[in-house]
């Protein structure tokens, strides 16, 4: 499932305020952070970890497979293209505000090298109890068998929180980011959940804009044996306004939440209208015989 307790991680932008703080948080969670990168600051240390000038140098010295990026938006392009030069498996981009064309360029370049991107504008990914790569608050998570995949950050915390409160731990949680162009979509993540022996069911958290949730529902109907439950934010969002996320803009009648819920339900995916409906829907899917009608 992309990461586990043995995954070695480097931090791009480790000397910055957010990068340094979250390196500490990840280390405290038990993530094997082995070093960091800030061009021009090679040779320094942060949290006793070595800082390198480039990603290839960091990877060859530490053997890291995953990089997590906290570099500001205007420097993100160079940082992503630097990561493309190293034999990484995965780049998790926390950075918000990356120009879309920079993201397309990085997606093309890293994709051609076989490096997966998660994000940008992502809270990161976590395998509860084993490895946290990102900025999510650790204590709301608990190990279990529910997968969570979401376009939003704090809304993911909200969903994970209600799952944990209801005694439903998580196998893996991925924030794929709220931008219009993202490295890993819902349909890219769902096959991983389907193959993961620790995942029994998946919660998909979507919002206005685009068609990714509908594609995910279609994919699930055709290719997945495990149940999927949706939650969608923005049922009452007005048209033609960008609701914070660059990807959260209604471009037509097809990408309103109401239209997307209708299409998802057509594909057999139940969709919660309220956060408090997620747990009962999930219980119903996991124990169909006891499901309330």
């Amino acid at each position: 499932m992309l990461i586990d307790a043995n995954t070695k991680v480097i931090v791009q932008g480790i000397t910055g305020r957010d990068g340094s703080f979250h390196t500490g948080q990840m280390l405290a969670y038990g993530t094997k952070v082995v070093g960091g990168v800030t061009p021009g600051k090679g040779g320094q240390t942060v949290h006793d970890l070595p800082v390198f000038n480039s990603v290839p140098e960091a990877v060859s010295e530490t053997g890291a497979e995953v990089s997590v990026m906290y570099v500001p938006g205007r420097f993100a392009r160079d940082a992503m293209l630097d990561a493309a030069e190293a034999p990484l498996k995965l780049l998790v981009v926390i950075t918000d505000g990356i120009p879309t064309l920079d993201m397309l360029e990085a997606y093309e370049t890293l994709g051609s090298k076989g490096i997966r991107i998660i994000g940008p504008n992502s809270p990161g990914i976590i395998k509860p109890g084993q490895c946290k790569v990102g900025i999510m608050p650790a204590r709301i998570h608990t190990p279990g068998s529910i997968g969570v995949v979401s376009r939003s950050g704090t809304l993911t915390y909200e969903i994970v929180h209600v799952l944990t409160e209801a005694g439903m731990g998580q196998s893996f949680c991925a924030g794929i980011g709220g931008d219009a162009v993202i490295g890993t979509t819902f349909t890219d993540i769902l096959p991983l959940f389907e193959q993961d022996p620790n995942t029994e069911a998946v919660v998909l958290v979507g919002e206005i804009g685009g068609q990714d949730e509908v594609e995910a529902a279609r994919y699930c109907r055709r290719n997945m044996s495990k149940p999927l439950v949706g939650f969608m934010a923005g049922l009452t969002a007005p048209p033609n306004r960008q609701m914070g996320h660059a990807g959260a803009i209604l471009e037509g009648e097809n990408d309103t939440v109401a239209a997307k819920i209708e299409r998802m339900e057509y594909h057999g995916i139940p969709v919660a209208r309220l956060i408090s409906d997620v747990v009962p829907l999930l219980r119903g899917m996991l124990q169909p015989s006891e499901a309330p009608q």
Binding site: L104, E105, I135, T154, E158, A180, T236, R241, G244, L274
Partner: protein, 380 residues
């Protein structure tokens, strides 16, 4: 950010895509001056950020000099889909021999840039794509090639738009220049609808629409100037300057939330309980108390405000910083409406304790908070 037709056409011309020149007029008198530059007939086109200009009477062709003032006046008095017309673009009326649709856009689903074409121009491309998808064709272009496209490789595509070889060649050439403009200005859409061949067989952009990436404005001074002059809602502009995303609505429940998804979900649940949000406000993923103070300042200006609902799930955001922002706001402003605060996540105990000291009761769930806010507003 959307550019007006006249701004998009100026950029197209700068990059070598033929588009008729014109004059921008903000009054009927200015419109009349256009006749010193262009000979009749001329087209008067409302410059508004919305479609359906033609149907709403926002485009008129004037054949006689005496008609231009009243025609300009009539268009300037229009409001098209809530957008008051503030400017006209006056341009020589073209003779259309053939019209087609051409755009270059970011294809979210494909994570690529693509040209989209249709041999019918002036159409609603979304409706056509839905009703007659076989008429709309697409050509993906790798971003790395967009600034150096070879026109020969675009001849197939251009030939589907214009059968005439010379017109197809002109089109392939202007497509390469659209590619350069797209990259150079960080566009997310350049739409030419219609692209026409005139009576002489010259291919040119009769209308143009262009959207640029807000996230890339930092590297485009010219586009920043356009935004500053664009007449954006002043409170939304000031929010942006403070690092907030703020959108005003008509309701009476002010909302301060961290994160766009959670902010949308908060609006949804308030409305589920019968309440009406006064705004969407995302304080973003940072724990700066000043942002909370700026948020209060914006929301307190809202007429008819009955309650403020602060909903925070702290990850990168620290609850004690949010509490500090609330305390400072109460000291700074005359807050005469009740505040409902839901604070969970990083440093929640500290944050709650700070608020309880001055008698503000916090709630722990979103459901509780939304219900309480709706109750105070008289809706639940």
């Amino acid at each position: 950010m959307n550019l007006h037709e006249y701004q998009a056409k100026a950029l197209l011309r700068m990059f070598g895509v033929p588009a008729p020149d014109g004059i921008v007029a903000r009054t009927a008198e200015e419109a009349e001056q256009a006749l010193n530059v262009f000979s009749l007939p001329v087209a008067l086109k409302a410059q508004v950020h919305t479609g359906g200009r033609g149907k709403a009477g926002g485009i008129r062709v004037v054949k006689e000099a005496f008609e231009i003032r009243p025609a300009a006046q009539a268009i300037l008095e229009l409001t098209i889909q809530d957008h008051p017309v503030q400017a006209l673009f006056i341009t020589p009326a073209a003779h259309i021999a053939q019209e087609v649709y051409l755009s270059l856009l970011i294809d979210r689903g494909e994570r690529s840039v693509a040209f989209v074409g249709c041999a019918e121009g002036g159409i609603d491309i979304e409706a056509t794509a839905k009703e007659a998808p076989e008429k709309v064709f697409k050509r993906k272009v790798p971003i790395s090639q967009l600034t150096r496209l070879n026109p020969d490789s675009l001849m197939d595509f251009a030939g589907q738009l214009f059968e005439d070889p010379s017109q197809a060649r002109q089109t392939a050439g202007l497509m390469t220049r659209m590619g350069r403009l797209f990259v150079e200005k960080d566009a997310s859409l350049i739409e030419i609808n219609p692209l026409i061949a005139d009576a002489e067989g010259t291919v040119l952009a009769l209308d143009a629409k262009m959207t640029v990436d807000n996230k890339a404005l930092f590297r485009h001074e010219d586009l920043q100037e356009i935004r500053e002059a664009s007449g954006e809602d002043p409170s939304e502009a000031s929010a942006r300057a403070q690092g907030l995303v703020f959108i005003r609505f008509d309701g009476d429940i002010g909302c301060i939330v961290n994160g766009a998804g959670l902010a949308m979900a908060t609006m949804d649940i308030i409305q589920h309980h019968g309440g009406q949000p006064a705004n969407f406000l995302d304080v973003g993923g940072s724990s700066n108390p000043r942002k909370v103070v700026a948020a209060f300042e914006l929301i307190l200006q809202h007429p008819g405000l009955k309650v403020i609902f602060v909903n925070i799930f702290g990850g990168i955001t620290r609850c004690d910083d949010i509490a500090q922002g609330i305390l400072t706001s109460l000291d700074t402003f005359d807050v005469s409406v009740p505040i409902v605060v839901r604070l969970v996540g990083t440093n929640e105990e500290e944050g709650r304790a700070m608020l309880e000291e001055i008698g503000i009761v916090t709630v722990t769930t979103l459901e509780e908070g939304a219900l309480e806010a709706a109750r105070i507003a008289g809706a639940a």
